[in-house]
């Protein structure tokens, strides 16, 4: 049986890969995908900790996060859509009207 440390290592890998993607990608959709990977890493941690300590609260937290993430993604994609209508771009480099 894999140990808790193995699950945590996968979570850490997922978190770092997601962060890397979020900071390296140019299109907003891809950035958001990276962020979702980070959220999944946190969720994996929560469920693993809950299972290994025989507690339920971690699983509950993970359920909440899944619901919140779906709502958040919906709002984010609506923002993207509304911006795309007025600017016809989803590349972060092109979104630069506001400057000092």
């Amino acid at each position: 049986m894999p140990s808790l440390g193995d699950f945590l290592a996968v979570g850490a890998g997922l978190f770092v890969l997601g962060l890397f993607g979020a900071l390296m990608k140019r299109t907003a959709v891809a950035v958001l995908m990276g962020i979702e990977l980070m959220l999944n890493a946190a969720n994996l941690n929560l469920v693993a900790f809950a299972a290994f300590s025989g507690r339920i609260s971690g699983q509950i937290f993970a359920l909440f996060v899944i619901a919140l993430a779906a709502a958040e993604v919906a709002v984010g994609l609506a923002i993207l859509l509304s911006l795309f209508r007025s600017r016809a771009t989803v590349r972060m480099d092109d979104i630069d009207l506001l400057k000092g």
Binding site: I35, A42, F61, V65, L68, S86, L98, G100
Partner: protein, 472 residues
Amino acid sequence: MNLAALLPAEILAGTALAVLLADLFLPHRDKAYLGLLSAAGLAAALGGTARQLAAGLHASLWGGIFLLDPFALFFQTIVLGAALLVLGVSLPYLERWGRDDGEFYALLLMAVLGAMMMVASRNFLEIYVAMELLSVSSYALAGFLRPDPRSGEAALKYYLQGVLASAALLYGISLLYGLSGSLDLSVVGARSAGSLGVVALVLVAGGFALKIAAVPFHMWAPDTYQGAPAPVAAFLSTASKAAAFAVLARVLLTAFPAAQGPWQELFAVVAAASMALGNLAALGQRNVRRMLAYSSIAQGGYVLIALAVATPTAVAASLFYLAVYVFMNVGAFSVLSFLAGPTGGEELADLDGLAERRPALALALAVFLISLAGMPLTAGLMGKLYLFYAAVQGGYAWLALWGVVFTVVSYFYYFRVLRHLFWGTAPPRPAAPAASVPAGLALGAATLATVLFGVFPQPLLQLALHSLGMLR
């Protein structure tokens, strides 16, 4: 008992639902009633919270998930007060915009609800959920002016950075949960010692720092404050910031008193960097809204001095400062919202000769700006004095000195605006829209409070000190 203590929050949620429902049936010309309904709900919630604060309520609800102590109630009052002022200014703003009133008010009320729940939480799950409610509503509000790509850009930048920070925050929480086996703030800290706990705490603090717009998590703030509707910018820079500060203070002071040394140093650096970057970047701005955005990054830096010093005096000073900051900052953003179109016309040159065209507005803006700068007879000065004094007392004299230096730097950009207001020549232009009664009330109240708390700061300071009693 549980439900009665949460009555203000329930009123807010009910008002939000009522606004959404009424929006379906009201004819277009009567949409202003939605604003009045929201104002009534906010005022009722504010009254209820103020009464709880006056009664010294200290209740632990639902097995300690909620803690309605004076500290939480103080911040709830700040948030509700800020929201009420913002709402007053939103009424004429939405009248000019001419649609989507119901959605705006409902989202604002739900954002306030999130902020209220957030400051009263003592459980990471509840903190996270409430903060997401505040965030999701704020993202949508920032992008409210759909046809204007600047509003969309403001929303997208805030959204992406906000979600990124909340993912980091959540990962930090998950580590703390693993270390301590609990989500309860009063338990987590004691069992999360060690270097992994520090890593987790930094991730958590980063998530809150983004909402405070503290360096290095400030990148979204100038763009979002400039591009979002002006009343939304006012809300984000005050209520949202105050709520995040409250949670951060509660997490650090109640859950992690043992780890004080390292995070005090960390916040000393963050506060110093925020003051420096905010004030220096504001110097170069021609757009007044963007200048105010950088100024509010700097103001966040002043408040964060409290977390570096971490003495009761310092935290009480930060409570005082945040309370008066609400009045002056909402006020300043509001004046701009009257002058300009939805998101434009806020260059320095646009303010030329405002004192001749709109003397009352110009005077109000002047009061807010000299208070933000920290001149005598304003609440801003008293707040800064208390903070710097607490810093010196707490052994952070260098931070106080740093703050004084950058306060002097800030005079340059605040007074540049004043010069345009009073000594610029007014260009011929169409008359700005007349101010409405609710907006006049909100601005008048903000102006009055800014001066009043500058002359008689004692009662508010006493209240702030008293609110700390329960924080240990």
